[in-house]
Symmetry: C2
Subunit: 491 residues, 2 copies
Amino acid sequence: MLEIFKTITLDKNSHTPLYTQLYDSIHEMLSQGVLTQGFRLPSVRELSKLLGINQITVVSAYRLLENNGFAHSKTGSGTYIENLIGNGSQFSGHESISDELYQQEDISIINSRQIEVDENTINFASATPTTDLFPVDDFKTALNEVLERDRGNAFAYQESQGYEPLRYCIFDKIKSQINCGSPETIQVISGSQQGIDIISKALLKQGDCVITESPTYSGAIAVFKSRGADIADVEITENGPNLNILEYLLKKHKPRFIYSIPSFQNPTGYSYSNMHRKEMLALAEKYNTYIIEDDYVSDLDFEGKNLYSIKSLYKNDRVIFIKSFSKIFMPGLRLGFMVVPQSLQENVLEAKHTTDISTSGLIQRAFDLYIRKGFWNKHMSFMFDIYKERYYEITKALDENLPPQINYSKPGGGLNIWLNLPFGFPMNSLLRQTAAEGLVFAPGNIFYGANSPQKLNNIRLSYAAVHTQQINAGIKRFCEIAERMLQNNSS
Amino acid sequence: MLEIFKTITLDKNSHTPLYTQLYDSIHEMLSQGVLTQGFRLPSVRELSKLLGINQITVVSAYRLLENNGFAHSKTGSGTYIENLIGNGSQFSGHESISDELYQQEDISIINSRQIEVDENTINFASATPTTDLFPVDDFKTALNEVLERDRGNAFAYQESQGYEPLRYCIFDKIKSQINCGSPETIQVISGSQQGIDIISKALLKQGDCVITESPTYSGAIAVFKSRGADIADVEITENGPNLNILEYLLKKHKPRFIYSIPSFQNPTGYSYSNMHRKEMLALAEKYNTYIIEDDYVSDLDFEGKNLYSIKSLYKNDRVIFIKSFSKIFMPGLRLGFMVVPQSLQENVLEAKHTTDISTSGLIQRAFDLYIRKGFWNKHMSFMFDIYKERYYEITKALDENLPPQINYSKPGGGLNIWLNLPFGFPMNSLLRQTAAEGLVFAPGNIFYGANSPQKLNNIRLSYAAVHTQQINAGIKRFCEIAERMLQNNSS
């Protein structure tokens, strides 16, 4: 039976790691019915010899098959296929993700278009605050004052770099935390998605490589792919990415940059330790690359982790810092900023001009005044308190109700919690059953790039769009449904 | 002396036409002092034989040298170099464009950053309306009504395709002129620059070809280059592009699309005849490509040309229509729309999402209400009358004052007039002298791509940012300065 494994071809020059390629090949044989339930895979030594690859590659591929419920190992005996396709088991972790609800890879598309959300929905899927939290009256005050003050100038072309008083205002706000030199390093953007797009225009050519975390924000992956970049990814753990793997990828692929979300990462909620931040910057220096530091919710530090921004470290000219206001202020404003190293400023400015000439002048001016009038500080503290209350409510509900087979680690801040379910758990059934009861959340697989091995046993629970009063009932019901499915299977 | 021409190497596979390459090579020899004043160029037959190229290629290159003042031909005798570099003549058409004022290729950067404009400046350089023309109060009314009506929803993520009522509203406005099927074909964009960027993301890969007019809007060229596209261009005449050359380029380069500004083109003010529009669409069909129709001021048709949009023609599914509001409404709003053929809608929507998720919800909603309250029609008619008055004022002043060596053709609408000066006219001196008297305009060369032969003897005069009362004095003074320079040279 070793014969059939000879058909596997691996490409050592590909950006997709060999172990992933091997995993994919075996998974395909399994999907096609070539490998059936109970089949004993070749030993690690046999397969590595047959394919001319390192034993560790085979071990990694087998471990991934196990993690995703496609195999199990018996000590001293070997690794056996779990091919449950079509055999009626609820635990076929590879059932196709066919629900229309979840076909879109990007969670923000899901938020706005795909999930039918009515007032009775308990929405753990959206990481975006609900509209009742927006400071409409204060912003309206700022808007009207700006219109009186600036009249038509509010609607003229603005400097591509951003409205100057706003850049100064942002600089004053962040200079104590982020070592950004001068207001000239600030580039205003129409939301952080645009920031990622602009940086990619300034830095990426077709065939360049980018390193991302895995899982990560799918909107970033879409941009890198649109520029024709190849993506290599490094698994994120509770303290940050595995630095050995990161260094290996840096050495091998010479990426243009590393895209990272170091604080309360999306989707996992994990934060890099301060050691990981320092080490990553040292690696960027050593391998002559950049770091895009995407800061979307570092403000929401409920337990005083006091993590410092990578951009705040010594020798930070390899870090492009992107700040989003979508989660802590109002997403539809389409406003954010970047801190850009001097060496990239000209390219970034040109890319911004090419992209949309400038961000809306009215919005920039109103936001500037909004900050100067003290509304921003007031609102930040309001949002912090609300999110914090929800964070403690959801972690309490999870601790009380989560079946022992499901676990998570407390992020201590941010907006997301990453649940680990048993390998092979029938995620789609769970999604359907909870959705039928008006309970929605984001399945973990949508946060994996197409090239990376998707782990199918995670769920992202967000508490940005659920009211504190809904949380306990929602989590309780979620846990009941999950527990019933776990029991049905084991019985 | 034929020897030195052997050093010329031409690349037949390049997107740059051979005659342009030859022109560039000779121009370089001239800049380096290899060819000096009075040097007799090889005969057309000699050079074509030496380089193994068609005689017509040599004729075209020589003609371009003449057009730009670098050579003159004597009938029956040959073509002679005019190398005036460094010999003190004011008529060295190739003096380097070094003024800081004009280093930026893009006129909108010039508008906002480079030209020092104070209240005494007469600004013929900007094609953007001045802020005193903006309907601030009506827009403020719409903004406040929307904030009362929609509250926080105005600041939530919007559909990437655009706020639905606005798409319906736009559809109703344009359906009588543009055959666009349904509101589903409308894609809201954050200004037409973003439209060009999004289409390019949806259609262009590195190495693809795009055909543009020459000269054209430099902001579009910047986008195509950023996608790694090659650009071939076709000279625009008063009735549209030369269709034979266009067909030749289509056959040779198989472009992904043609970027065109058919009505009151930027920078020339020329409009395609209706025949040219039909023919171009037929060519797009024949050569299986798309047309991007950039409509930035077709509304300003002062003399009743009644040109129809290419998108309004039968079989229009090869046309992507982009509408800007920057020139007729307010540029800093960053709002426009596209009409997208069904076959491209999915790709375009994905590219929009990747670019900035959505256009500002508040701005979209306020603009929707602004149209519905009738403010839009009122403002269009106001702007039309103002621009029309300025158009007649500037053409009258030009007709009365322009030296006979300078000519132009009346565009009949739009915002720009394209002056043809004598070949070799010292444009930079003119720019400096007029700027010293507070009179600014856009030199023609900034509208040519780096690959295309730049004609150096044009000026774009715009009347969007000059008040009617300033026009006569400004044009008169401009003509006096130009005339004095012409006389100084001929004396």
